[in-house]
Amino acid sequence: MSEKSDEEIAEMVQSGDIDAFAALINRYQEKMMRYAQKFLSSHEEEIKDVIQVIFIKAYKNIQSFDPKRKFSSWLYRIAHNELVNTLKKKRVVSLSLFNLDTFVPYFAAENKLKEEISRNQMWEMVNKSIEKLEPKYREPLILYYFQELSYKEISDVIRIPISTVGIRLRRARKKLKSIYKELESDHE
């Protein structure tokens, strides 16, 4: 099973191989846990419940998965929907239907984007400050730096234009920097 791709295993699940689904769970459990922990900032038991719901939904809807596409994007999309619903139920924030930054194009190409800070620095800042970011900016940050998804993959997960992914990451970094500076000055 380890030599098979996610898509091949998903096809096996579609054919009725239930044990193949266990392999997919094992592959993605940790990633989903990290994603949910950073996004929800909840305690572990709640996170586990949410993760279980994500995988159950993935199984129920496995027949809608197209093996020609990437399984990870499809699963992350289910995870995104579930995490957003959890946030809405907790009424932490209202996630608006229309975001102005999805209306017009922004020129923020991934490979040309100037990295003002290194990934290590980003990790440190994010770990300390991420809870204070709005979900709108928190999520692309998590997906990009922690889950290491590309702009295109993030666009498929959150269903926003690719250019908007770039602009949200840029804004997230900016906000994170100022939050981090505030935290650092509080400690001093």
Binding site: A22, F55, I56, Y59, Q63, S64, T102, F103, P105, S155
Partner: protein, 271 residues
């Protein structure tokens, strides 16, 4: 965690949805999308058709009064429902793969351009005329009321009549209701598509639309244009002379009988 989930699957507590469910969902979604698209095109083409038939855009050439009449006479209800449909289409198409990868403005403009282009084309065909005739005979459910409402619309200071006779200073017309009106032409009278302001192109038997204040049975014409009544619109356009820039006359020969149609075609061939 994996063992818990697998246990639930094996016990039947969690069941996989069948593939047919997703196929049916996709088909219904596609069908709904197409239905909304057709509905939007119908509405936009209806708006354009009504605007053309009632010369609504012509009113806007008469300053503040014209603007007010234009605003009152424009089919706003249909227009706003059509705009709402476009927004709905935009929301639905965003669910399609690849469409969400691009900013909303791109897909919105594309949808709008396609719809307007198709609507403009349809408004110039006889489609709405045929539907209108069915509506008059109460043979058109649902949409019939829409056509009937716009047929009965009357606009203040706007008169439509058939030319009975004309002189240098006025034109005598008879309205559909049989009312005889004298249209007073002055230097200020604006003739649409007639750059030299002569009324020479208006002949006896033509239908004209007149904008102006009524005083008894006289109207001081602010503007005059030739119009076609719905009945005059041909079912088939056999021969159209291109609009002559300087004469501004459109020649459309409505079919009188099948025989005459054949004769006309032969005449054209000989030419």
């Amino acid at each position: 965690m994996d063992s818990d989930i697998i246990e639930k699957i094996k016990s039947g507590e969690v069941k996989m949805k069948p593939k047919t469910y997703f196929i049916l969902k996709g088909v219904l979604f596609g069908f709904g999308l197409v239905l909304i698209l057709f509905f939007t095109i119908f509405l936009f083409s209806f708006v354009l058709f009504v605007a053309r038939l009632n010369s609504i855009l012509f009113f806007s050439t008469f300053g503040l009064w014209g603007l007010k009449t234009f605003l009152i006479s424009f089919p706003w209800a249909s227009f706003f429902v059509a705009v709402g449909s476009v927004l709905l289409l935009e929301i639905l198409t965003k669910k399609l793969t690849k469409v969400y990868r691009y900013p909303i403005i791109y897909s919105f403009l594309l949808i709008l351009i396609v719809i307007l282009a198709v609507s403009l084309f349809i408004s110039k065909t006889t489609a709405h005329k045929k539907l209108w005739e069915k509506a008059r005979q109460n043979q058109l459910p649902v949409a019939g009321r829409l056509y009937q409402d716009y047929e009965t619309k009357k606009y203040r200071d706007v008169y439509v009549g058939k030319v009975l006779e004309k002189t240098d200073k006025d034109i005598r017309v008879e309205t559909e209701k049989g009312e005889i009106l004298d249209i007073m032409v002055t230097r200020k009278t604006y003739f649409l598509l007639l750059p030299d302001r002569k009324k020479a192109e208006i002949k006896k038997g033509n239908w004209i639309l007149v904008v102006g204040k009524k005083n008894g049975d006289k109207i001081n014409a602010l503007g005059i244009r030739r119009v076609k009544r719905l009945e005059e619109l041909p079912l088939k356009i056999h021969y159209i002379k291109p609009i002559d820039r300087f004469n501004a006359t459109i020649l459309v020969k409505p079919p009188i009988s099948n025989e005459r149609i054949e004769i006309n075609r032969k005449e054209i061939d000989l030419k």
